[in-house]
Amino acid sequence: MWWRSASFIMDRQRNEEADLKGDSSNPNPNPNISAYYETRAAHHGVVTSDWLAQAQAAIGPDPVPDPNPEPEPQLRPDPDKPFSVIDEFNSWRKQPHLAEAVAAIRALAAVIRSSKATTMMQLEIELKKASDFLKSWDTTSISLTAGCDLFMRYVTRTSALEYEDFNSAKSRLIERAEKFGEISYKARKVIAMLSQDFIFDGCTILVHGFSRVVFEVLKLAAQNNKLFRVFCTEGRPDRTGLRLSNELAKLDVSVKLLIDSAVAYTMDEVDMVFVGADGVVESGGIINMMGTYQIALVAHSMNKPVYVAAESYKFARLYPLDQKDLAPALRPIDFGVPIPSKVEVERSARDYTPPQYLTLLFTDLGVLTPSVVSDELIQLYL
């Protein structure tokens, strides 16, 4: 069964890429590391050995490596435009409170602003190219793909644009893209409001990973003077639990920090599990930080509800059947000691939790059961 592991698949892909060196179309200069999780690590200020190595090699103090400009002219006749999409996206993504999908849509809005097209059809073609290029830059980010798809759907489906002149249509698209950021921010508020009915005084909540939405939920509960305890998992190797416990302590919330393997031990004290989601897939399951599936399995066997807080723009038309069905999102793992070269390390950063282990989804569309996700996606994309 070892040949089905994600690392084995990635090794094969790496070999294939080595064979097709000259024809490689992957704009990411570091295909072995997921840019998504690298950015999140930068948000959390996590110091890893890889980061130290890059810092020593880099001249500037910027922790995120810039993409290599050399292969760009070979791929595109106009090197400025695709380069600007990536740079625009990276600059937006560095803001810790901005969602990936919003950063993607803002990057696409920048494409619209800098576009020299004179008709809607040309603008759509340019947007399509930029969107596809952006998605292929980081295939592991589901929010990025979902955000681009949402914006492209808006562009192609809005028939009112056909009756306006080009300039007003263009400004309308830009305005829509700007409003999307507000929608994202309001979505967190809506989800926090919806979740308050499920948090009662004296309850104990287990959280995993640092999700901005989950943090917003707990913050609002604390502001409403509710008394509850939060169990944070350590969240190796990123130590996201440490950061979340730090933020919650500032709000005077009672926090208990667990190592990742202590989940089953403490599950009998837990009243509910709160997790965020990197993506919500069509089956109603979620893709989230590694360990979510494990926690959901334990909670399900001990009859504890698992609640997912996710914005609706994270809904993606994916249908994974098992863990290996996803494109692996790899990240560096620092064990603190040198790893022998013969030892293989599982470096996937996320897992897939099937819908039967989830109780409810808190979204800006309302509180949904997992089976409704597919209905929303069908009505959205059909």
């Binding site: 059947l321 089976s371 597919s374 069908i378 994309y381």
Partner: protein, 636 residues
């Protein structure tokens, strides 16, 4: 309001006609009035109640003596015209209230009017006043009456025979007089109905005292309003009943015949083209499904082929192919049926005095009945037939015959291409993304969609192995196996009893489906549920490939209430092993029944994903697809 005014238009000509008949009537009226006057002379009533009491008495006398009904009713109407020369709706209610009050007084108190000579005088004066009406007015009124009569005849088709009987009974001299008399009778009936309704309403108030009725005339006005409301409600109910009935008829694609109902079965036999012989030993649990002996059908139909009955030759041929099993599978049968319908529509001619929409729909229905007799319809065929009938019903009447036929044929062609062929391509495109190098794929039976998926994945250069599960009696997996091996796929062939042994090394299960129902139940060939349950127990994902046009809004939890029975003899024999044929004469054994089911139902719990032309959806989203599909079907 219009409904109320119509009967009054009928009343007016009657008044004037009565004027003409006034002279021959007075003697019998006066003769009948005098005995009652003599008997009631001791009781005295004040003059203000005079007119209402007189009317009440007339109503009572009309009810008691049928022979004198016409004259007394005429009298009452003439007096009404006298009291209200300008008929208006607000003026009518106090008049009716007075009538009701009069009836109440009469029946409750037992009082009677005493001054009949005055009443007689009033009637005479009214008759005299109506006589001077002009002839032109009378003629026009008669025409209006005849028009209204014709309208009523159309409305009341069932009453036509009764009207004819009345005509014969009357034997009046002139046609105009006949029309007038009909109008009179209808007015009489309506008056009687109104009187009965008023009496019932008054009966409710019998508990009240006479004084309250007299002092408060407003209360008496309520009963007619109630009657009107009741009639309006009744009409609304009648209108509301029809649409659900139509919907119910449309929503039943499966044969409505329950074959344990003997009377209906015999009726169906008389109309049937195919001569069916019922099986002797029928399984009790499935008596509601048709069970026939299979040997006698095909030769009988073949002999009849050149007799050119009501069935088109193309449809006849497809029926024979269904019967012999040459065409099997939901997609193949549906395509063959639609192509046969295309040929039938090509040769179709509209009969004289008939519309294409109605006659063609009836023709298609007869063809469908014939095909059902050859083999019961699948869900896909039912949906296709529903689509075709809706297209026929929506043809504009302005189109010529050839244009209508061309439009229908192109609709059928587009249905075949978009809903079946193109849908399969989309399903293949989605399903191939779930096949990876090193996979072991298991499939059961022979599904065209699954076969296309495997061949396409092989064409893409993916390295995988296929396990083909098969089961008696049809052994259709052999055909699939042969086609896959020809293309170079690495295959394993097992029987269904070994599926639990091999499931350990399987990574994906691909299944076809005859239909997917609203609750996510997969209705497919018998054995599918068994394979899906074993795969679920081994935590192997089960992927069902089904086109959206095979979805259905029905809900089904088992495979008993709706299924199809195959030939029992196929079970008792083993191919190429005649020496082990121990059940040769099983039909003669009374306590032995052989059951050959065609379909089973897989609960949605055992299905991981349904791959359809709308994408990959969980079983819980089938109702959404059905709703979107129904909406889209209308747009086509």
């Amino acid at each position: 309001m219009d409904a109320r005014r119509a009967p009054r238009a009928v009343i007016d000509p009657k008044v004037r006609r009565v004027g003409f008949f006034a002279p021959p009537e007075p003697d019998p009226i006066s003769f009948e009035v005098s005995p009652s006057a003599n008997s009631l002379s001791p009781v005295m009533i004040p003059p203000p109640r005079h007119s209402s009491e007189n009317l009440g008495l007339h109503t009572r006398l009309a009810a008691t003596s049928p022979s004198a009904q016409e004259s007394f009713a005429a009298g009452s109407y003439s007096s009404s015209s006298d009291f209200f020369p300008a008929p208006m709706s607000p003026a009518t209610s106090p008049y009716s209230s007075r009538i009701v009050g009069g009836d109440g007084d009469f029946f409750a108190g037992g009082k009677a009017a005493s001054s009949f000579p005055r009443g007689g005088f009033d009637l005479t004066a009214t008759m005299a006043s109506s006589v001077p009406a002009s002839e032109l007015t009378t003629v026009s009124v008669v025409n209006a009456a005849s028009l209204s009569i014709r309208e009523r005849k159309k409305a009341n088709k069932g009453g036509g025979s009764a009207v004819e009987v009345k005509d014969q009974a009357l034997n009046t001299k002139q046609q105009k007089k006949e029309k007038t008399s009909k109008a009179e009778r209808r007015a009489l009936q309506e008056a009687q109905r109104a009187a009965k309704a008023a009496a019932k309403a008054e009966g409710n108030k019998a508990s009240g005292t006479l004084a309250s009725v007299n002092v408060k005339p407003a209360k008496a006005a309520k009963p007619p309003q109630k009657v009107d409301n009741a009639s309006v409600a009744a009409s609304e109910k009648k209108g509301g009943d029809r649409p659900p009935e139509k919907d119910r008829k449309k929503d039943v694609p499966q044969p409505r015949l329950q074959y344990d109902d003997k009377s209906r079965v015999e009726k169906a036999k008389r109309r049937a083209v195919v001569k069916q012989t019922e099986a002797k030993n029928r399984v009790e649990l499935f008596r509601h499904l048709p069970q026939y002996e299979h040997g006698s059908q095909l030769p009988d139909l073949e002999a009849k082929f050149f007799q050119l009955g009501p069935v088109h030759p193309a449809v006849y041929k497809v029926g024979l192919q269904y019967l012999s099993g040459d065409i099997s599978g939901g997609n193949a049968r549906c395509i063959a049926m639609l192509q046969a319908f295309q040929e039938a529509i090509e040769d179709y001619r509209v009969p004289s005095e008939k519309t294409l929409v109605r006659d063609l729909t009836a023709k298609i229905s007869s063809y469908v009945s014939f095909l059902i007799e050859c083999r019961p319809l699948s869900i896909s065929m039912g949906n296709a037939i529903r689509f075709l009938k809706s297209r026929i019903a929506k043809l504009p009447l302005t189109l010529s015959e050839s244009e209508s036929k061309t439009s229908l044929q192109s609709d059928i062609e587009r249905f075949i291409y978009e809903k079946i062929i193109l849908a399969n391509k989309v399903i293949v495109k989605h399903a191939v993304t779930k096949i990876r190098d090193g996979d072991v794929l298991l499939t059961y039976g022979s599904s065209s969609a699954v076969e296309m998926i495997l061949l396409h994945a092989h064409g893409l250069g993916k390295q995988f192995r296929v396990v083909v599960v098969d089961s008696r009696p049809k052994l259709r997996g052999k055909l699939l196996l042969r086609r896959l091996v020809e293309k170079g796929l690495s295959c394993t062939y097992i029987h269904i009893n070994a599926v639990s042994y091999i499931m350990n090394e399987v990574t994906r299960v691909f299944l076809g489906a005859s239909s997917v129902l609203s609750n996510g139940t997969v209705y497919s060939g018998v054995g599918t549920a068994c394979v899906a349950m074993v795969a679920h127990a081994f935590h192997v994902p089960v992927l069902v490939c089904c086109e959206a046009y095979k979805f259905h809004e029905r809900v089904q939890h088992d495979s008993i209430c709706s299924n199809e029975l195959g030939d029992p003899d196929v079970i008792s024999t083993v191919q190429s092993r005649e020496d082990v044929n121990h059940l040769e004469a099983w039909a003669n054994t009374e306590n032995l029944q052989l059951l050959n089911l065609i379909y089973d139902a897989t609960p949605s719990d055992y299905v991981s994903m349904i791959i359809t032309d709308y994408g990959m959806v969980p079983p819980t989203s089938v109702p959404v697809i059905v709703r979107e599909y129904s909406r889209e079907q209308v747009w086509i």
